[in-house]
């Protein structure tokens, strides 16, 4: 019940955050030196003259006052209308329906892979602290953190797809197509998470409540699962919540390499052409994803440590 109220409060807090980010983005876009009308004309191979520019500006609604443009955009948004791309003249929503699921699948999948791999790696390296396994995991972490995604992607393509033909190379037709891109994205995360978890575990093992749990004769599974891991995994949850947004925004390289029609490429193109409605939609989506990612992380945190949702209790949260 307390959790329910907490979630509602947090969802309500999303509204000002989203209004703020989209407004700032709106403002910043109009402060950039490139005129979208000019960009449009150059894409269409029309020589920009004073007359044509004014015409295009009028068509795109750019001759209206700034405030009016923003309110108009918000009003359209309330009707779930994301606007029409300046360049392609295709509604943004039409593109999003196709592209967003690709990126979302990729982001969520790589996050799941990262967490599932990091937990055993973190536990193994904590239990064998400074031994062979720990050193191997550390090496993997260094590699994962320092290997650029494009290089890793090509290595995977070369060895897994070309040499051994285990997974398809490009496209999004089957789930197999998502395996290599997800692994590419996950490796960097695995590096961070497994080290975070290792250190968290080593710290948790020193907690008095773990000693007390041992003194009560709990078995290894109950001890490690319910007491140690539950406490140690909290930094990983926070990190994963923040990474969800980053994954949405940062898949562009991987999408290009594996030829996946996600949102990354679409928005990159839009930035080049100052395609305002598309960029504005991107900012909106990112704001929502970031806030939601953090919210999910916080809800999981609140489940792991009920002190976080308790207010007015006897003891302060640490």
């Amino acid at each position: 019940m307390k959790l329910f109220v907490y979630v509602w409060k947090r969802l309500a807090m999303m509204v000002p955050v989203i209004l703020g980010t989209t407004f700032v983005a709106f403002l910043l876009l109009r402060l950039t030196p490139v005129d979208p009308a000019r960009a449009y004309l150059s894409v269409s191979n029309i020589i920009p003259t004073e007359e044509t520019i004014n015409l295009v500006r009028h068509q795109l609604g750019l001759d209206q006052p700034f405030w009016l443009q923003y309110v108009h955009w918000l009003w359209q948004l309330c009707h779930l209308n994301f606007g029409i791309s300046f360049i392609s003249k295709i509604p943004v929503s039409q593109e999003l329906v196709v592209r967003l699921p690709v990126t979302a699948t990729l982001a969520v999948l790589s996050l799941i892979i990262a967490i599932l791999v990091s937990i055993p790696l973190g536990i193994a390296s904590a239990l064998h602290k400074n031994k062979f396994i720990d050193h191997c995991c550390r090496l993997l972490a260094f590699l994962g953190a320092s290997l650029p995604q494009f290089l890793l992607a090509y290595l995977l393509i070369y060895f897994v797809s070309v040499k051994f033909d285990l997974f398809p190379l490009q496209g999004t037709e089957t789930w197999q197509h998502f395996v290599l891109p997800s692994i590419t994205l996950a490796l960097g995360l695995i590096a961070t998470y497994s080290r975070l978890l290792r250190n968290g575990l080593l710290e948790s093992l020193e907690e008095p409540f773990v000693l007390y749990a041992k003194a009560r004769g709990l078995g290894t599974v109950a001890l490690m699962g319910r007491h140690v891991l539950r406490h140690a995994i909290r930094p990983v949850v926070t990190a994963a919540g923040m990474n969800l947004g980053k994954l949405f925004a940062g898949t562009v390289i991987v999408e290009q390499i594996f030829a996946m029609p996600g949102i990354g490429g679409y928005f990159l193109e839009a930035v080049y052409h100052r395609d305002y409605p598309v960029i504005q939609s991107f900012v909106l989506i990112m704001a929502i994803v970031f806030v939601l990612g953090n919210l999910i992380a916080d809800v999981v945190q609140a489940y792991l440590d009920p002190r976080l949702t308790q207010q007015g209790t006897r003891k302060q949260v640490e």
């Binding site: 008095p208 409540f209 003194a215 009560r216 004769g217 709990l218 319910r226 007491h227 002190r307 308790q310």
Partner: protein
């Protein structure tokens, strides 16, 4: 069966800490026995090796860092050469521990009930309902109000004194032969201290459990213990019955401890 049985028999217990700075003897040649229904009090200043002794009995000292020698027998059972799996069955069931800071000792993320039940499940095949009843019963025995409500709460929702009594209730829940109370009253104010002493007295009266009471609070020792051992730098410097030790201390260190108590005692009165 009325004859007193020796529950804990420690002979020549030595503990060394191995660290980067070298070896350090923290407990040296301790020997003592506790009979069922009796309370042995260990007094001494902080850092003299009292808590280490408790952990050594439970075999909870890290085997890399600490080197333990000597014999620790729980009735007929030698504890020093048990495997970890065997020890898990003994800890919490035959020997239970009360720690000095209940605020840290309970896992803040789990309700009292969960921590009660996991202990009961670890040592018995009781159903959920039976385990719950057992928990309520032992809380009730310790005179805690509203045991059922108490079980639903999280540790941070209770006061330190309350939690300490919950910990005592949890420790006797499996009817252990031996109870190790490591500074059970140190973190508490005098009202709660009184409650905790009462709770331990209830256990003592049942005459089933042997209690090792570690404290630097001589008043608590005086109220509860039958025998007292005075510890300094890892060694017992004097042992004897409470009456004898309090009225006629022989060792200089014991006199010093008693003097310290008297001065604070008179100042309070």
């Amino acid at each position: 069966m009325n004859q007193k049985e020796i529950v804990l028999d420690v002979k020549g217990l030595d503990v060394q800490v191995h660290s980067n700075q070298g070896k350090l003897q923290v407990v040296q040649d301790l020997s003592f026995q506790i009979e069922s229904g009796k309370v042995l009090g260990i007094v001494g200043e902080s850092g003299c090796g009292k808590s280490i002794t408790c952990l050594a009995i439970l075999q909870l000292l890290d085997r890399v860092q600490y080197v333990t020698q000597g014999s620790i027998r729980l009735k007929e059972l030698e504890l020093t050469n048990r495997t970890e799996a065997q020890l898990q069955k003994i800890r919490g069931k035959e020997i239970s521990l009360i720690l000095q800071n209940p605020m840290n000792a309970f896992n803040p993320a789990l309700t009292i009930e969960k921590q009660f039940l996991e202990t009961i499940y670890a040592h018995s095949k009781l159903s959920r309902k039976q385990a719950h009843d057992q928990a309520v019963k032992s809380l009730d025995e310790m005179n805690l109000p509203n045991p059922k409500e108490l079980l639903k709460q999280y540790p941070f929702e209770l006061s330190g004194g309350m939690l300490q009594r919950v910990m005592i209730a949890l420790s006797i829940c499996m009817k252990p032969m031996l109870l190790l109370a490591d500074e059970p009253t140190t973190a508490l104010d005098s009202v709660n201290r009184h409650h905790v002493v009462e709770a331990l007295q209830i256990i003592k009266k049942q005459e089933k459990t042997a209690i090792l009471l570690v404290s630097h609070d001589l008043n608590v020792i005086h109220e509860l213990a039958d025998e007292v051992a005075v510890m300094k730098k890892g060694q017992f410097v004097e042992t004897g019955s409470v009456a004898q030790l309090f009225s006629n201390p022989k060792h200089e260190y014991t006199k010093l401890l008693l003097d310290a108590r008297l001065t604070t005692g008179t100042r309070n009165e």
